[in-house]
Symmetry: C2
Subunit: 122 residues, 2 copies
Amino acid sequence: MTPGELVATFIAAIERKDLDAACALVTADCEYDNVPMSKVFGPEGIKTVLAPFVGNCSAIDWVVHHQAETGNVVMNERTDRFEMGGRWIELGVAGLFVIRDGKIALWRDYFDQGQFTKAISG
Amino acid sequence: MTPGELVATFIAAIERKDLDAACALVTADCEYDNVPMSKVFGPEGIKTVLAPFVGNCSAIDWVVHHQAETGNVVMNERTDRFEMGGRWIELGVAGLFVIRDGKIALWRDYFDQGQFTKAISG
């Protein structure tokens, strides 16, 4: 897989709510940084952040509007959509992924925390 | 120039506070979208947003940490640094640039408005 294909496969696993499959694609020391909120490390750190959130979703759909790839760096512009409590919430995100040894070693998402809070609270 | 070189040249002009040179590199209908804040269109729209801000800076330094380029799409991860009133303020940004006919047709920056407000207010 190219780095871009790896990122697409990772996102597809999250959309299936299969965090084990997603986390099999990250390095043991992977940094997952939600820039305005917090960062965690490694597969267990990622699961700690995502599992409660994903567990509250009836469906997940991340729409990739643009993606660019140079060497081991992949960046994409997305609308991350989550179905919760019968309605879809949406968040605009720009993501950075750095690949090492065929796995994601850094995943950093830039977004506005105010937009996230507003989307969640409806 | 490649799309990535065009973006680097555009950023260098902003760092020199030469908005005329920067805006010579965008299309007449260029969309400049500061995602959590507002969007404007065209060289005049961009100058309306940037000129007062740039005018208040004694120096501008945008550090590009990562950049990826595929076709007409360039994305980068930056720390945008502005020297104002004798101190440097910094903002983490992920930027998207879409190139058309050798000019920037879309410039969209993702960041956290709360971080921006906090940085400005010190």
